[in-house]
């Protein structure tokens, strides 16, 4: 096992995928090496190794970026397009939602769109209201689109490899505050659609993804000191999500807390709560609770930004309340 941060792991996945399959392409603003191989280097080395025909540094034209990926995909390639930040998906929603996600269905299966959209987001860096939204619920609500959000380097590598090989469009979200820390990394493919029980427990299930997995683990360790046993599930694939793993866990623990960084209202946690609440009706020991960002734009000022996102304290409090 090597020590890698998520940037290196994704970079490695892109290298390995492009090496393994000539039809894998990359495009986006600054992704080629003359422009630095990506703002933080996720695509570094790709254009030097595979050429500037397969790796395009594009103008600032997100509709053309995603549209070109859609076109290349139905033309037989497997493009990996970058939307530098998730908020910029707002200028490419037509291509993502009306086209990438729907062309297979609307063509009756004649065209498939095997593309990956890499995008980054996450609060904590003071970038304010337009640079760090988590918008995965929009795409989970869009039939035909898959969404993946890894919380560690191994999953980042493994999910990226699977996303590229998948015949459907996948949004791959890179959580900025998680990108830089090196960790032991396994370079193996990880299947889409499979959650991972990252800590076993018997009293409460916390379903989380991205940074929130780390917070949940910290809370679980903390609660253990008080004899409270928390199971933590890293959802990893947000759409389609792994109902079996979640339902099995909650059937065991009887309690569920869903935590994500996206705004709580109408977030992914609502769907999970609705499904679990229905499937396990009468078998729960406590109401299902959800935590998410506050219902506002991401604030700039540090104390506000800190309070905006769930943190170990707020997660711990919610967990304890469910266990009381």
């Amino acid at each position: 096992m090597e020590k890698m941060n998520m940037i290196q792991a994704i970079n490695r996945a892109l290298h390995d995928a492009m090496e393994a399959d000539d039809t894998v392409l990359a495009l986006g603003e600054e992704v080629a090496d003359p422009e630095g191989g990506g703002i933080v280097g996720v695509t570094k080395g790709l254009s030097e190794r595979f050429g500037e025909d397969r790796v395009l540094s594009t103008p600032i034209s997100e509709q053309a970026i995603i549209g070109s990926a859609v076109g290349a995909a139905i033309g037989g390639f497997r493009p990996v397009a970058e939307l530098m930040l998730m908020n910029f998906s707002t200028v490419a929603m037509d291509m993502l939602v009306n086209h990438a996600a729907k062309l297979r269905f609307m063509s009756g299966g004649q065209t498939n769109v095997p593309m990956v959209v890499r995008t980054a987001t996450g609060a904590g860096l003071g970038t304010g209201g337009q640079h760090c939204d988590f918008l995965e619920a929009w795409f989970a609500h869009t039939a035909g689109m898959k969404v993946v959000i890894p919380s560690n380097s191994s999953d980042a590598y493994g999910l990226m490899r699977s996303a590229i090989e998948d015949d459907d469009p996948v949004i791959f979200v890179e959580t900025i505050p998680l990108l830089f820390g090196p960790m032991e990394t396994t370079l193996e493919k990880v299947p889409l659609g499979k959650a991972k029980v990252v800590r076993e427990g018997s009293d409460l299930t916390i379903v989380a993804y991205a940074l929130m997995v780390h917070h949940a683990l910290a809370v679980a360790a903390e609660l253990e000191k008080d004899g409270l046993s928390v199971e933590v599930i890293d959802l990893r694939t947000i759409a389609p999500w792994d109902r079996e793993t979640v339902l099995a866990s909650v059937a065991k623990t009887g309690r569920l807390l869903v935590v994500h960084e996206a705004v709580k209202e109408h977030g992914v946690g609502a769907e999970i709560a609705a499904v679990v609440g229905k499937e396990l009706f009468g078998k729960l020991k406590a109401p299902i609770d959800r935590l998410g960002a506050a219902f506002c734009a991401v604030p700039f000022s540090k104390p506000l930004e800190t309070a905006f996102v769930p943190n170990p304290a707020s997660i711990g409090a919610a967990a304890r309340a469910l266990l009381a």
Binding site: Q63, G75, L103
Partner: protein, 327 residues
């Protein structure tokens, strides 16, 4: 424009064959709709037939087409099988898209109809990507994006043209300028008289031609397509034309001055081409009658087969959402 290549007599006949097929097919669609047997939103391209009929003889099956809701003419000219088209219009499981796409999303990759979109402007970014695919495959393929005059004012137009120019992609951007976008005259949507002027802003070739003139249209298309095949990059062609049946079938066209409509109809380009073929001795009327009768038979067979076919099963809702059927 005078030094564009001209179509040969045989090619002119081929253009007419495509154009009359489009026209007869369109008339049959309208007839079926009027009778209530066919229920679909329909955007007739009656009046615009010469454009794709003159462009497509320069394209092969493996050249890509992305077109729009008003696109049956483009697809018929490109060789989209009429039986698959009719079954799709009728929402039958035998349709090219199993009835799931319908009129606005007709697709048939074997003849290069890759995407039909209902979103104004959105044929362009996808065609750009198909152009990238073509360039990478290095087999002299090209990609054609069809769109209307109204689409020239949406962001996707701008991004796509610039993108194709920057990467020197083999894409032909074909604006079928019928002077109206829904009910809005081009005069109210732009201060320029020719959208082809915008090509210069991308360092791209751009021309305006009479789309109803097969010589000009064929020549400009051949020139642009050859440039694309030779790696000389994208072209914007603005083909001037008119639509005779308003925006959506049923549109009374109150916003079109009566004289404008009358003048356009008087210059109906399909009968005009027929007359020219006869006048210039390229074909005689009887031969054309025979050709047209044959086309009508083909269309009729397609219509009958469509109606005779089954509707898709409701289980189709779970298929083609993803590559694997959902549970």
């Amino acid at each position: 424009m005078s030094n564009y290549p001209k179509p040969t007599n045989e090619q002119l006949l081929d253009i007419y064959r495509r154009a009359i097929t489009i026209k007869l097919n369109d008339e049959r669609i309208i007839k079926e709709m009027m009778s209530g047997r066919l229920v679909t939103p329909y955007y007739s391209a009656r009046g615009q037939e010469i454009i794709p009929s003159s462009v497509m003889p320069n394209m092969n099956d493996d050249d890509y087409l992305c077109t729009i809701y008003r696109g049956t003419h483009d697809m018929v000219a490109k060789g989209f099988p009429l039986d698959l088209m009719w079954a799709e219009l009728a929402g039958r499981v035998t349709g090219s898209c199993k009835g799931k796409g319908g009129t606005m999303h007709l697709t048939h990759p074997p003849t290069g109809s890759m995407v039909t979109t209902g979103i104004v402007g959105s044929s362009m970014p996808i065609a750009t990507g198909l152009g990238w695919a073509a360039k990478l495959k290095n087999k002299r393929q090209v990609a054609l994006a069809c769109f209307g005059d109204g689409a020239c004012n949406i962001g996707a137009f701008h991004e796509s043209l610039n993108f194709a120019a920057v990467f020197n992609l083999p894409v032909i951007f074909l604006c079928q300028n019928n002077r109206y976008a829904e009910h809005t005259s081009m005069k109210k949507s732009s201060r320029v008289e020719q959208y082809s002027k915008r090509a210069a802003g991308y360092g791209m070739e751009g021309v305006t031609v009479n789309g109803n003139d097969p010589d000009e249209m064929y020549g400009a298309a051949k020139w642009a397509i050859n440039r694309a095949r030779n790696g000389e990059g994208p072209t914007l062609i603005e083909a001037m034309t008119f639509r005779f049946n308003g925006h959506l079938l049923g549109d009374p066209g109150h916003y079109i001055p009566a004289e404008e409509m009358a003048a356009a109809k008087a210059a109906d380009p399909v009968p005009a081409l027929r007359q020219r073929l006869i006048d210039s001795g390229i074909a005689d009327g009887a031969a054309l009658d025979t050709m047209e009768a044959g086309i009508l038979v083909t269309i009729d067979a397609a219509v009958q087969a469509a109606y005779a076919a089954d509707y898709p099963d409701v289980a189709e809702l779970k298929r083609d959402v993803f590559a694997h059927e959902i549970a």
